[in-house]
């Protein structure tokens, strides 16, 4: 079945709404307008205003309402338009959703799923383009999912709803229009493991979410140059699948982390640190990183492109760590 990433996400939401009457979707413009990125288009007509709920322009308010609903036995899916706006709900997400289980001595789970768009590449300016999922991966009590493929876009939501604790799903805005074949039987997928999207022996390109297509393209170019790159899609940023990361690095002995977030203090730094801590003696080169330029993501097309990890930069970084020995 031909599907876009957007349709795959929608299929996942529809599936969840059908499976469990406790599931409902709420957020800004998710109903009548069909979602800011048209993800929930048609769902209001199908499921009615009780289950597809438009909210006021108040992230802190409706995320808090979602937490309350979850505590009260519902399985809310809260959509926040972009990760930048989720900052308005940080108190609810970090101080409440992520902390209540701990602070209640294990009594109160918060089975909440928050979906949001992340990332740049669409000329939406700094306030709509940042990649802050690495920040959330810092927070104990949250699970952070970064679906990069149609299968994950379709399948991660239900598994996340089954998790008794809060899960944040980051959908990269540049992926919504990506289309491909999605198996008719596609359904829930695991949310614990990283996946090798392309096996290789010379260097591990470790990435997730929106940069996966560029990394796969870079791997093809590297193959032409005789460098056999392995592409590891993290899928989940918290908890990280250390075993998969270390196994890949132990095999290739070199790695480049590709992350659209900023380099300083980012998830790429965490990955680099873990690799160095746990696989130091396996390494044949320092861990390389390709991240976004340390600026608020620019609006102008050429400047935005220059700020983001590009195929060229990924190829160059991989060539750097593989040296001239290949």
């Amino acid at each position: 079945m031909k599907s876009s990433y957007r349709e795959a996400v929608r299929a996942g939401i529809r599936d969840a709404l059908q499976r469990d009457p406790r599931v409902f979707l709420m957020g800004e413009d998710v109903g009548a307008y069909g979602g800011s990125f048209a993800v929930s288009l048609g769902l209001l007509e199908e499921f009615g205003p009780e289950r597809i709920r438009d909210t006021p322009l108040s992230e802190s308010g409706f995320v808090g309402a979602g937490i309350g609903a979850a505590l009260g036995g519902m399985r809310p899916i809260v959509e926040i338009m972009t990760v930048n706006f989720s900052l308005l709900a940080l108190d609810q997400i970090v101080n409440n959703a992520a902390s209540l289980l701990h602070m209640s001595g294990g009594q109160f789970h918060v089975p909440l799923v928050i979906r949001m768009t992340t990332g740049a590449g669409r000329q939406l300016g700094a306030q709509h383009s940042h990649s802050l999922e690495g920040w959330y991966a810092h927070i104990p009590g949250l699970r952070i999912l970064v679906p990069a493929t149609l299968e994950d876009a379709r399948g991660m939501l239900w598994t996340a709803l089954e998790d008794p604790d809060p899960v944040l799903i980051f959908e990269h805005g540049s992926l919504y229009n990506v289309t491909g074949e999605l198996d008719d039987g596609a359904g829930p997928v695991d949310i614990d493991t990283a996946a090798i999207r392309r096996p290789g022996g010379d260097v591990s390109l470790i990435t997730y979410g929106g940069t996966l297509p560029a990394v796969l393209e870079a791997a093809e170019q590297l193959a032409d140059a005789g460098v056999d790159a392995e592409v590891l899609d993290l899928r989940t940023l918290r908890p990280l699948d250390d075993d998969a990361i270390l196994a890949s690095v132990a095999k290739t002995r070199r790695s480049v982390v590709v992350d659209e977030g900023w380099r300083s203090g980012g998830i790429s730094a965490e990955l680099s640190a873990r690799i160095t801590e746990n696989a130091f003696y396996e390494l044949d080169a320092p861990v390389g990183r390709v991240c976004s330029a340390e600026v608020p993501i620019p609006y102008a097309r050429h400047m935005e492109a220059a700020a983001l990890p590009s195929v060229e930069r990924i190829v160059a970084a991989a060539r750097e760590v593989t040296g001239n020995g290949g």
Binding site: T252, Y281, E282, L283, A285
Partner: protein, 448 residues
Amino acid sequence: MGDFLMPSLGADMDHGKVVEWLVKPGDYVRRGDLVAVVDTDKTTMDVESFQEGVVADLLVAIGQTVPVGTPLARIAQTPAETGHPAPEPTPSPEASPTPEPAPPTKEAPTNEAPMAPPVRHLAHQLGVDTAGIRGSGKNGAVTRADVEHARAARRGGRTRSSPRARGLAAELGVELAGISGTGPGGAVTESDVRRSAGSRQPAPSTPAEVKAPRQEAATAKPAAAGERVASLRRAVGTLMTRSKRTIPHYYLGTTVDLRASLDWMQSVNARRPVADRLVPSALLLKAAALAARDVPDVNGFYSAGAFRPSAAVHLGVAVALRHGGLVAPAIHDADTLTVDELMKKLRDLVGRARAGRLQRAEMADPTITVTNLGDLGVESVYGVIYPPQVALVGFGRVMEQPWAQDGLLGVRPAVVATLSADHRVSDGLRGGRYLARIDELLQQPEEL
């Protein structure tokens, strides 16, 4: 061009004698560098330069006494002003050809660590570039020791190398120095070490690399065979040297009564065609494998300071090659094979080992090795452990011997089983249990 004058080294000094020149024409001097040793009647003192540049001429010969203020040497601002080529890359290439009158702030890199003049002089003498030295002295000052370390580091040819390359080099007994690196920044990588070791284990990932050695081996000429033997000998030597240097071996031996085993074997063989008959070593290997499963302290690898026991028993079998040398390929999961399967594998393995057709996995992963020198008439063998394994089992010749039991003397077939084991991992108690377990197993051959 400036002159270096005989200084006044005390209010009462009016002349001095040059007893030693510490520089020669063409040398580069900085402010504070020692230039000469001067005798002042009272004492001899090191004299430093107040300018920088290249020494153009020495005007006063050693032993000459001159009044204070006499020019002793000419110091030029740039090498071009002297006839001499600069012997070393000058730290700061002064672009302007026009000489400037002693610019004290122009030259020195501002981030340079403070350094006492004698230390700077030492650095110059030793040809050490002081720019990169991190001082360990007061206020980060560079000390004499720092300079000497820097020089030693350079002399020793500290080679940039990856952690993996260093680990592999130690494993293979290869010197890192002298290997030219192909990694980032010219660092020595794993593949550089392998190349240097002349290893025939190309990384399987690069298809280009895999083909070449294959063809080479197939068309190897007899002349090359001798070379190969020599290199194999060297490899064995390196490995065994490393083993003896790094593994604290301890040795145990016990004589095992084989009557039960051989009786059982003969009764089985009596019903079989010759080709399918068992030989005693198959029983010994099986017992060694089973015992290794039961006493895990002898089965596994020691690396990076820790023992990793292995759940599987891959029994390495030492095979002497016809032209000399030794390999010890593995029979995988030997503890799970029947004695017959083990016999078959052993035959296959020895045949292929001698034909040089072992697979890489067989070479790489034995978890414990057995050497059996019984065929050669050896009574007992205390072997050297193959790193990173932690034990080596030896069997000698099966021979009849007088055997005292329950106050009676009889004659039994027996074999000396020995264990060389790594004391970092196990001790005599565990090792003893291992040998005792072999003995037990061989008393019930039908259970093997």
